[in-house]
């Protein structure tokens, strides 16, 4: 077993050496360096295209998905080896997408064989860019209160309603969307649909955030027709799919707690002794959380983690990232107030600070995560 793994490592190392372009071994400096894929994707460089094609060719954009669905079919130890070998050379993720981190795992668990064979390979190859239709103007923390209606019209669903905080809806090709198919039960009247954002009746409007960017949209559905077979799981059973997917979303967001990584003190070198002390306290917490992330990932893979533990990780990781940004602002002083100067690289520090405030809201607020921990892990009464 060990020798097999050693052979796999050697082979992986030399393949990466040969196939990962030098440019793709540079750290990701900004959102612009991330490859999201999709029908309308414009590669930022030839290297970005090559890297995606090489990795997708081996199924390594989704190393642990089964090979028949476009994945790499790797065992957990092999996937870890691949991750380590990519880290060793500083290789970027070839593809980042909500298809990989959210929809894919839900389809693997709840999709029909036909759905898996149809959608998963497209996700693995980065051909379809997905967005998530969850929150609505009247359904934020109380997500199950959603009202977007799907009426059964015999051969299709007819969708009417509005979503909000739809990440990159204006850039996405398809949406996985929670809709109300029954008003008889709150959670038991929700279904999980997939449909094309190019369908007649779909429109999007970007929302300008305090950070100055517009990663989220309002999304409107006006008599959108969706083929009947594009439902995941059973009618009125979409909440189970939604919750499972949220676990994966929280797992993904918790990883953001590491921010851009590395010691904040080493990056800012604070001269003020009181600020230095606070930053040292932060660095302790960040390193401790990094250890937690490693342990959580290993436990999650081995099935030893509590099913509600992504809530704990999401809470801790996002609160940490907000603190990191607060301290980076303090360390930057008045330099960190400049909004669009070249010196400030277009206000990276204040924009990141403002954006980080959303971390503990999106994907379920910190308060909701604490409710979940109190109820499902601590089993406190009435929680």
């Amino acid at each position: 077993m060990t020798t097999d793994l050693d052979a796999f490592r050697a082979e992986t190392r030399s393949w990466l050496e040969e196939n990962c372009p030098t440019e793709m071994r540079q750290p990701i400096r900004s959102e612009a360096d991330v490859c999201w894929g999709g029908r309308n994707w414009t590669f930022k460089s030839e290297a970005q295209r090559q890297w995606l094609e090489a990795m997708a060719g081996r199924g390594w954009t989704v190393p642990d998905w089964p090979a028949e669905y476009g994945g790499g079919g790797l065992s957990a130890p092999e996937a870890l080896v691949l991750k380590e070998e990519m880290q060793r050379i500083g290789a970027r993720a070839p593809l980042t997408s909500f298809g990989i981190s959210m929809l894919g795992p839900a389809l693997l668990k709840f999709g029909t064989e036909e759905q898996k064979r149809h959608y998963l390979p497209q996700i693995a190859r980065g051909e379809i860019r997905w967005c998530q239709g969850y929150s609505e103007p009247g359904a934020g923390s109380d997500l199950a209160g959603l009202q977007t209606k799907a009426e059964d019209q015999g051969d299709h669903w007819l969708i009417n309603g509005q979503k909000v905080w739809t990440s990159y809806a204006d850039k996405a090709d398809w949406i996985f969307c929670l809709v109300r198919t029954s008003t008889e039960s709150k959670q038991g009247g929700i279904s999980f649909l997939l449909f094309d954002m190019a369908s007649p009746g779909v429109s999007t409007k970007p929302i300008l955030l305090i950070s100055g960017s517009s990663p989220f949209c309002e999304t409107f559905f006006d008599d959108v027709k969706v083929p009947k077979e594009q439902i995941v799981g059973q009618v009125n059973k979409g909440w189970d799919v939604a919750k499972y997917l949220l676990g994966h979303e929280r797992e993904m967001i918790s990883g953001m707690g590491l921010g851009m990584g590395g010691s904040l003190g080493a990056a800012t070198r604070p001269a003020d002794p009181l600020l230095r002390a606070e930053i040292a306290a932060f660095d302790v917490d960040a390193l401790a959380f990094a250890a937690m992330s490693e342990r959580f990932a290993a436990m999650w893979k081995a099935g030893e983690a509590h099913p509600a533990s992504p809530s704990m990780m999401k809470y801790a990781g996002t609160e940490l990232n907000k603190r990191r940004n607060e301290l980076a602002m303090a360390a930057g002083g008045s330099d960190a107030l400049e909004w669009d100067s070249e010196r400030s690289k277009g206000g990276t520090t204040p924009r990141s600070w403002l954006r980080s405030k959303g971390n503990s809201i999106e994907g379920g607020t910190s308060e909701i995560q604490l409710n979940i921990v109190a109820k499902h892990i601590l089993r406190l009464p009435g929680a």
Partner: protein, 376 residues
């Protein structure tokens, strides 16, 4: 980070059931406290540790020990923390064992540690705050040996120990790591005066006065002027161990607190139904999980002799002390009036946290280490 192996899980279960049963607060801490025992722990229990092989966890197999590492010690120490079990495990089987391993003193003292007859202690601190490189105690060459003069404090179980691993200065001056030498000083050495003191948690620590204490050259542990290396090794093991014990303290207190939230009623409701308390409890849970991960990471890095070990040892100790402190404060507060009574165990956790938090450097000391090791 690797998950625990089957062997490690088995050790954890053994330690958990042994300490919950034999090392419980009622059987050990409260008992020895009520009779004002001079040791603050029971020798019978220490022999039971030995019968299970636990005193030899860090002792090499060539000496008859289990030859295991910091990870296994951490698993035992978390259970010790959870039960507030007073014992020489950390000071003797972890810290002193690491200080003398690989030297001829190992041959002299390991058999007694393995059988549970021997207690060892580290005599390091000379002021109220941990500052290992500031050792000033004088060790002057005389004839074939050395003469020690000076004072030590916070020598945990110093009055119960058969031998004191004593840090003294053979050259250089306080603040320099070179010039420190470790000596194996028998506690009955002539000129050594011991003041046995009860600490806030009913454990015992000694203040020691050395007045012309003569030791032979073979009392030197390792090399003359080269005590920093074994001392650092012992302190790393001690801090990783103390971090694990603090995680146990935090988990033990919090188990009591959660139980109280589930059964105490006010305003016709269980107080655990109030969201103000639920959120604090959930935050605490999250922090304890993180502290445990940090403690296990530090132990794992020590065991793999990683260059990152020193950094993570300080991360683990600082984080675990911080979290355990939060756990005991929340514990007493959420218990309300009953938490202020001597009869309730939650206050015992608060007292233990204070001592463990200080031992081998408090969270301020270790945050400073993290800053320095990170290059700022």
């Amino acid at each position: 980070m690797a998950l625990l192996t089957d062997d490690q899980k088995m050790l954890q279960e053994t330690a958990a059931s042994f300490l919950a049963e034999e090392g419980s607060i009622a059987k050990q801490l409260r008992h020895w406290r009520s009779i004002n025992c001079k040791d603050g722990f029971g020798h019978g229990l220490w022999r039971q540790f030995a019968e299970l092989g636990l005193t030899g966890i860090c002792i090499p197999e060539s000496h008859g020990g289990l030859g295991l590492g910091a990870t296994e010690a951490a698993l035992v120490l978390e259970e010790i923390g959870r039960n507030l079990t007073p014992s020489p495990f950390l000071g003797t089987a972890v810290v002193a064992a690491r200080a003398i391993e690989g030297t001829e003193h190992a041959d002299r003292w390991f058999p007694g540690v393995l059988s549970g007859e021997t207690v060892l202690a580290l005599a390091l601190e000379e002021g109220p705050r941990h500052a290992p490189e500031r050792v000033a105690m004088e060790a002057k060459r005389q004839g074939n040996g050395f003469v020690l003069n000076g004072a030590k404090q916070f020598v945990v179980q110093g009055a119960s120990a058969d031998m004191l691993v004593t840090a003294a200065r053979t050259s250089g001056s306080a603040g320099e790591t070179n010039g420190i030498t470790l000596f194996a000083v028998p506690r009955d050495a002539s000129g050594l005066e011991t003041e046995n003191l009860a600490l806030v948690d009913s454990s015992k620590a000694a203040r020691l006065n050395f007045t012309n204490v003569q030791v032979d050259a073979d009392a030197v542990i390792g090399k003359v002027d080269g005590g920093w290396q074994p001392l650092k090794r012992a302190l790393a093991a001690g801090n990783a161990g103390a971090a694990a014990e603090l995680v146990g303290v935090a988990a033990g207190t919090t188990a009591l607190t959660l139980e109280y939230l589930r059964q105490r009623k006010q305003f016709g409701k269980f107080i655990g139904e109030f969201q103000a308390l639920q959120h604090r409890a959930a935050h605490l849970y999250s922090e304890i999980e993180i502290a445990r991960a940090a403690a296990l990471k530090a132990a794992e890095l020590i065991d793999s002799k990683s260059e990152q070990a020193d950094l993570y040892v300080s991360v683990a100790k600082a984080k675990a002390a911080d979290v355990a402190n939060l756990a005991v404060r929340e514990g007493v507060q959420m218990h309300g009036g009953i938490g202020m009574t001597d009869e309730h165990d939650v206050g015992l956790y608060m007292k233990r946290e204070a001592v463990l938090g200080e031992l081998f450097g408090d969270l301020y000391f270790h945050r400073e280490q993290v800053a320095r090791l990170s290059g700022y």
